[in-house]
């Protein structure tokens, strides 16, 4: 906390959606936040209506909603009216395929227009939208489709071939696969052929606020991925947090760089910008320094929401490239995914004339909970203060319950008072796991943090073994299970180790069955095995061999100890250690 506070000018404060944070907190009510939306009779609503139809009905149909930049750099614009008619067509396609209200519509797609059309069309029709990360391998894909009971999948020819063919027979509930870049072939249908054959008129289904709308997967320390359920009412939070935390204003050109397969890509890559009526920039290509600066300047991006890994890679590439571009339109920059180091906040201030505004939230919270705001002074390295309407606290565990700690700078678990609209409503089919998150009327986040005497929150670490790599949560169990499937492997422990760029990377410690020799060929074989099953985002980047892994009496591998030794930290309590590392 040794960095200078970055102060905000009166002009910037006055021009923002929330000029005075304290006042906004005092005046805030969720009822008022909801009144900013249209809604339907009897308290019903639909996310897609608020994102698209509402703007078309109020005469903004010709405004550009989405500007798609293809890999080749071509630009293709979609107005709000275009999104309305295309999503209606897709809703009609679902109807024609007999996919009913409440059924799960999955995507395995990169940043292509079909993703946005699918998301909005599925919601319009009352179906549940579930995006998957296209860098997942067949096993994570299969687990997520099974748990969620996918009824239909929209994907590309290449992704289908690489990730779906080997698992399709296992997915008994999957009735339809639609391919966006191919005509009808064995076992799948042509997305665009179906779209062209249906009407562009569809009456949005009025949903109960508590009806399921979105399904996002996240990883825990143990067990399989958790299907996090969000409901249509969540749009109240998506909309207001876009307005307050990202300062979205109708004339903004907004670029969210998150992959659509993660919660940020939906909450702030689709819903919040559209409900706030801004123009959304979508770049199909992967991260590339020169291309990103070009996008910022050529597209005249005003609000930019990105991630620490990307910011650190931009930092590494130096200050010459940004100096060559006109970035004068940019007025607000935010970051999410993992804590943004203070050096990066300051670097932003130096290069762009404004800091990156770090914010904090999780798949479970559905929307931004703690943030640095346009009008609020920034303490580099802090996640900021709770959104108006959100009560956050630091709690400590006592006798099966928790107690809030009031002493500033005391480390404890970051917790939130339940009740905001985008709070998860369930872990799909795992009630016990869900209930465990709530203790004494607090939602426990699993993150350790402190609050300073000015009310700013600071991230300290995770309370468990989950790994955060390039902003993505990876459950060690999922990685260990995949490696265990290899015949040479007898034991695996997977941990996250610090990495300058990605925050953490996945490292696997492997013990071999007798008869196998630890050598480079076997290491590469295991790496290939893991990549094939898990995909590049989840597979370990490092694999090392051990004769034996540290275990407890009950045979549980002590990841904590592997990690302490890897990082040269104190080993802590090792009284449960029965069989040590060799």
């Amino acid at each position: 906390m040794d960095y200078d506070i970055i102060r905000k000018s009166l002009d910037i404060k006055a021009g923002s959606n929330m000029p005075d944070y304290e006042q906004a907190v005092a005046d805030f009510s969720w009822r008022h936040a909801k009144s900013l939306l249209h809604g339907f009779a009897d308290g019903k609503l639909n996310i897609a209506y608020e994102a698209v139809e509402r703007h078309v009905k109020s005469g903004c149909g010709q405004k550009i909603a989405l500007r798609w930049i293809t890999k080749n750099g071509d630009v293709c614009d979609y107005t709000y009216a275009d999104l309305s008619s295309l999503s209606s067509r897709f809703a009609n396609v679902l109807d024609r395929l007999d996919i009913n209200k409440g059924e799960r519509v999955y995507t395995l797609l990169g940043r292509v227009p079909e993703l946005y059309i699918t998301a909005l069309g599925a919601l319009k029709a009352g179906c549940v939208f579930c995006p998957m990360f296209s860098a997942f391998g067949p096993e994570p894909v299969q687990a997520r489709m099974k748990i969620g009971g996918a009824a239909v999948l929209i994907t590309t020819k290449a992704l289908y071939k690489r990730k779906m063919v080997s698992i399709r027979a296992e997915l008994h509930e999957l009735r339809e696969v639609l391919i966006v870049d191919d005509s009808e072939s064995e076992g799948s249908r042509d997305f665009h052929g179906l779209m062209d054959a249906t009407s562009d008129q569809f009456e949005t289904v009025a949903m109960d606020p508590e009806d399921m709308a979105l399904l996002h997967f996240t990883s825990g320390t143990t067990g399989m991925p958790k299907g996090v359920v969000h409901v249509h009412e969540a749009v109240v939070a998506h909309n207001i947090t876009g307005r307050l935390a990202l300062d979205l204003q109708p004339e903004d050109i907004y670029w969210c760089t998150a992959d659509p397969g993660w919660v940020t890509g939906t909450s702030y890559g689709i819903i919040a910008p559209l409900t706030n009526g801004v123009m959304l920039i979508v770049d199909e290509a992967e991260f590339d320094v020169a291309r990103w600066y070009k996008n910022l300047s050529e597209q005249g991006v005003t609000v930019w929401y990105t991630a620490p890994t990307a910011i650190r890679m931009l930092m590494k590439s130096g200050s010459e490239l940004p100096a060559e571009h006109n970035l004068s339109k940019l007025r607000f920059m935010a970051s999410v995914g993992e804590p943004l180091n203070p050096e990066a906040v300051e670097w932003g201030n130096e290069i762009f004339g404004m800091p990156f505004h770090d914010n904090w939230w999780q798949t479970e919270t559905g929307g931004i909970m703690i943030a640095n705001y346009a009008s609020m002074d920034v303490k580099p390295g802090s996640m900021g203060k709770p959104l108006p309407g959100i009560t956050a606290g630091i709690v400590e565990k006592i006798d099966g319950g928790v107690r809030e700690v009031s002493e500033p700078l005391t480390i404890g678990e970051l917790a939130l008072k339940p009740g905001w609209p985008s709070m998860m409503r369930a872990y799909l089919d795992e009630e016990a796991r869900y209930q465990k998150c709530f203790v004494d009327n607090w939602y426990l986040t699993g993150d350790l943090a402190v609050r300073d005497s000015d009310g700013y929150f600071w991230f300290v670490g995770r309370d468990d073994d989950v790994i955060k790599s390039s902003g993505h949560l990876i459950g060690p169990f999922e990685v260990e299970s995949a490696l265990m499937e290899h015949e040479a492997v007898t034991e695996v422990g997977v941990i996250g180790i610090p990495n300058e760029t990605a925050g953490q990377i996945v490292k696997a410690f492997v013990a071999l069955q007798s008869g196998y020799v630890p050598n480079e060929d076997l290491r590469l074989e295991l790496l290939g095995h893991a990549r094939k099953r898990l995909g590049p985002a989840v597979a370990p980047k490092e694999i090392v061999f051990r004769k034996n892994l540290p275990k407890t009496r009950s045979g549980k591998i002590m990841r904590r100890l592997l990690k302490a030794r890897e990082l040269g930290l104190p080993e802590g309590d090792i009284s449960t250690l029965e069989s040590d590392e060799k």
Partner: protein, 79 residues
């Protein structure tokens, strides 16, 4: 296979051993064909740069986007 193709194939194998170079489209995007993410790509560039003792600045990445383009780039810069 040329010398440079062999070197690139070897380094790619160290990062993505599950992908057979004979089965990829050499004119298509390298990252997609080998299913490698930004981190893997950076590691690949670092390894090649070390092995061939050449500078491979980020500004040149657009010239390394496919297998064929990467081989051309390496051939031009390692002379």
């Amino acid at each position: 296979m040329s010398e440079m193709e062999k070197i690139l194939t070897e380094e790619l194998y160290r990062i993505a051993p599950d992908i057979d170079v004979a089965e990829i489209d050499r004119e298509a995007e390298l990252r997609e064909e080998f299913d490698i993410d930004s981190m893997d790509f950076l590691n690949l560039v670092m390894a090649l740069s070390k092995k061939l003792k050449i500078e491979m600045p980020e500004a040149d990445y657009p010239d390394m986007m496919t297998f064929t383009k990467m081989v051309e780039y390496l051939e031009q810069h390692s002379k």
